[in-house]
């Protein structure tokens, strides 16, 4: 027990026997069962699993968007399982960045403003202008989401997620709505994030090929972790083929 506590001190997030059930009418549906998992600083973790295996649910739990049914998710001293709503909001606000499959940009704000929207939440955000330039969006700042391509929208979304300097970046099928080439571009960007910004990145995908870019891969099936593997030499996103 003492050993695991030591580990918990150094890992970013620790999931202990996390179970999530949804009540559907009279029946209960177990979507995640007894998941144990630690996230390490600067790691790119890929969660791989077929559709419906509970990936999004897992991500939502880690991001404090939803609550576990049983188990614990520890972030430092904070246990997301027992945290108050205000504590969860604080956790999301200061420590987590989200990237969604369908971008979820606020439609009536410009690219710049969408990033600004997140920057506004923290005391020392990254400079928005620099970030957009680094992401190749310098001449797209004043565009509204509807005027951007899918790849550009997702870059804005990623910028919006990292501008807060989150400890944890959670990406839910970030390339799911993109074409092959664009998807590779975006994955390249995501792959650089741990090094550039020092964040831990969790990348959720159903695509076996993509798994090769992570440091570590966990496989999920029907809500259970069926395998954990380590990539000693992750593949560069640009070399991916699927």
């Amino acid at each position: 027990m003492g050993g695991s506590r030591e580990l918990a001190d150094t890992c970013v997030l620790r999931l202990e026997r996390v179970t999530k059930r949804y009540r559907q009418g009279p029946r209960e549906l177990t979507v995640l069962r007894e998941v144990d998992l630690s996230l390490w600083p600067g790691e790119l973790l890929v969660v791989l699993g077929p559709s419906g295996s509970g990936k999004t649910t897992l991500l939502n739990l880690m991001g404090g968007l939803d609550r576990v049914s049983t188990g614990h998710i520890r972030f430092g001293e904070l246990d997301l399982a027992t945290a108050t709503a205000a504590q969860l909001t604080h956790y999301r606000r200061h420590h987590v960045g989200f990237v969604f499959q369908f971008f979820n940009l606020v439609p009536n704000l410009t690219a710049y403003e969408n990033v600004e929207l997140a920057a506004y939440l923290v005391e020392q955000p990254l400079p928005v202008d620099d970030l957009l330039e680094q992401f190749g969006l310098a001449d797209r700042k004043t565009h509204f989401p509807a005027q951007l391509s899918g790849g550009e929208q997702q870059r804005v979304a990623i910028a919006r997620a990292v501008v807060k300097r989150p400890a944890l970046l959670l990406c839910d099928e970030p390339t799911g709505a993109l074409d092959y080439e664009t998807a590779k571009d975006v994955l390249g960007l995501i792959q650089e994030l741990p090094e550039r910004f020092g964040t831990t990145v969790v990348l959720v995908t159903h695509n076996q090929a993509i798994a090769t870019i992570g440091h570590r891969v966990i496989r999920l099936r029907s809500g259970e972790v069926v395998a954990v593997s380590r990539n000693e030499t992750p593949l560069a996103a640009s070399e991916l083929i699927w």
């Binding site: 999004t56 939502n60 991001g63 968007l65 939803d66 709503a85 205000a86 909001t89 604080h90 999301r92 606000r93 200061h94 987590v96 989200f98 969604f100 369908f102 979820n104 940009l105 606020v106 439609p107 009536n108 704000l109 410009t110 403003e113 600004e116 929207l117 997140a118 506004y120 939440l121 509204f144 989401p145 509807a146 919006r160 807060k164 709505a177």
Partner: protein, 787 residues
Amino acid sequence: MTGSVLRRRLYRQLRQQRWQTLAVAAVIAIGTLLGIGLRSAHRDLAAARDRFYARQRIAGFWIRLKRAPRRQAIAQASRCARWVEGRIVREARMMKDTADRDPTTVLAVSLPAGRRPRVNDVRLIAGRYFEVGTRPEGIVGRAFAHAHGIRPGSHLRLLLGGRVVSIRVIGIALSPEFVYLLAPGSIVPDPARYGVVFLPEEFMEQATGLRGAVTELVGRLRGNSRPERRAALRMLERSLSPYGVLDAHDLEEHASHRYLSDEIRGLAVFGVVIPTLFLIVALLVLQVILWRQVDQDRPVIGVLKALGYPDLHVAGYYAAHALSIGLLGVAAGLAGGALLHRAMIAVYRQFFELPGLEARFHPADYAIVLALGIGTAATAAARAVWVAWREPPAAAMRPAPATTPGLSRLLPRRWPLLARIAGSYLVRRPLRSLAGIAAVALATSMLLVGLLSYDSTIAVLDHHYRHVERHDWSAWLRDYRDVQAVREIAHRVRAPLAEGVGTVPATIQHGRYRMDGAVLLLPESPRLFVPWESDSSSRGIVPHGSSGVALSRWLAKKLAVRAGDRVTLRIRVADRRVVRVRVLRLVDDYLGLFVYAPMTLARKLVGHPRLVNRLLLLSPQGDVAQRLAGYPSVVTVRNRRVERAILWRMVTKLTVTYVALLVGFAAVLLFSSLLNVVLVSLMERRRDYATLLALGFCNRELGGMLAGELAVLVLTGTAAALPLGITLTHALIRLYNTDYFRMPLVVHPHTLVAVVIAAAVFGTAVWVVAVWQVARGRWQDWLRSRE
């Protein structure tokens, strides 16, 4: 209409949005309910009146005479009229065993014994009619009988013609001419203190000492149109003038008929205007809901069409959506309307002595209101149906192009981001926002209409019973008397202050306009009856010593008279003079058509220096009434406070009921429209809200954003509602006003403040619901998929 799967989806959709569905259905229900209630009550009241008038042969004219020989008077009248009846009408005092403060007066009206009168026949509720003879028997009006516990077989002691007569009650009856029985100068029935008793003709002649004479002629005027009949009445009046005409009026001017018919007319107006306004709001709100629905459903529409559903089929879905809500509302409205209808008839039965006044089922009205309710839903669905019908499947399946920046570019760049987001929502779909604001504005203005009409009614009562009438007691005299005689009475009943007023019927003419009203002869500086604005500094009717008159502003408008103009007064009593006088000022009054003249004009108008038929007394003592009642020339005695109290009771029954109904419904309307507009916005933006929450914004910040949006909605809505409500009330009052009773538009600042506060409270309540919806909803799931 649509396949069973679509039907199931619709059912689910309606259940999911049950609060919205119910809120819109409620508005339609209220519109329908008011439509049914008011229209049906209107029909019942009008039908009961017409039936009663027809069966009992209501008279077309009433001419009050000092005294005329029966045979000659009838013969003369028959030249311009049919079915003429001569009768004796006298006020009598009811003698009671217990002494009470307020004397009870009855109007004793003679009826031919052994035959029914040609006009104004009574309808017996109990007992029998008079047989030939001179027996001291009486038939008593129903309301009066109820108020005093009188039944056939009871005995009544009346002070009639200077002596006390004992009368055996043989029947209880209703009379078409006394459906709404008013004591002279009064505007509310008071059956405890004033009633009607019918007595056999010969007995009446004996008791009053008017053998072979009559004091009133009633009958039907010849002529097919009102102008023709009015001309006949004028001729009749002139030919009877040797007998001393005290008053002559036709059915339209007959007080009971006027009050009854004004109420019926008011119901007709309100029964159309108010439900229409409610349905307009329902239309606006439902439209907003369906617009959003069809926007959100575009992929579904695309898929259905791609699957091969015909365009019409897909469009039908949205029609079905609207019609389901419409039908739900209409069904509830019809049921509620039937209840309102019954309740209204029950209230009217207390005020109007009408036989057969019952809540009847009027299929035509139900059909019309049903059609209107459904029509509202169908109109609201029009655009959604059109879009669903026309949209090519490919276009529908492409993601909505609705996110063009458009007007949001115009928002100031310096606003905080959340404010910019909130602002851009409002301007992004300007039509939808406008529809929302219009609904809120209309709902708020209905609230204002309710409160303002209450204020206006109260203002009339306040004006009349506080500023104009300032006496304690007023006594109506049988005939005109010299003011000196009146002073003597006042002296003898030991009233510290007394004034005499002369009411002289007259036709007022200016150029080609003419109106029938009365000249009120008042002391030069009246203190007990002060007919003008309370803020006026001058206390005289007209400047002292000047020989002119003051005119009611209403009358002046009708006659196109301005201060300084001359009008012609055709006096309709005494020697029927025609006099030209100058109008020196205009005054505000709300009851009747009056010319106010100083007593110094009496000689010029009626050939007598000081003619008076009403005595006003200031005296706090209660026994003044009994002492006054001892004078045979005194017909009725009224206490101003008692009368005001009765009026209040009636106002609280009728007006307050209506106002409470209207205000209550308007409140539902306001809440419902606010709630719907906000819920629709919420549905539309829930993905954005979820994104904001995921980013780490807290509920408080979202709440603030929602509050800002709601504040804009409520503030613009209310800002538009204030002028709109005032204008609407003004229009309604104009429709409702008559020559006999009219209301000023009174706008108290505190009423406006109350409406603003109400809107703010509802806004806050809706805000709480909205915040609760966001906090309670599984917003995590809103992020998952593409909508």
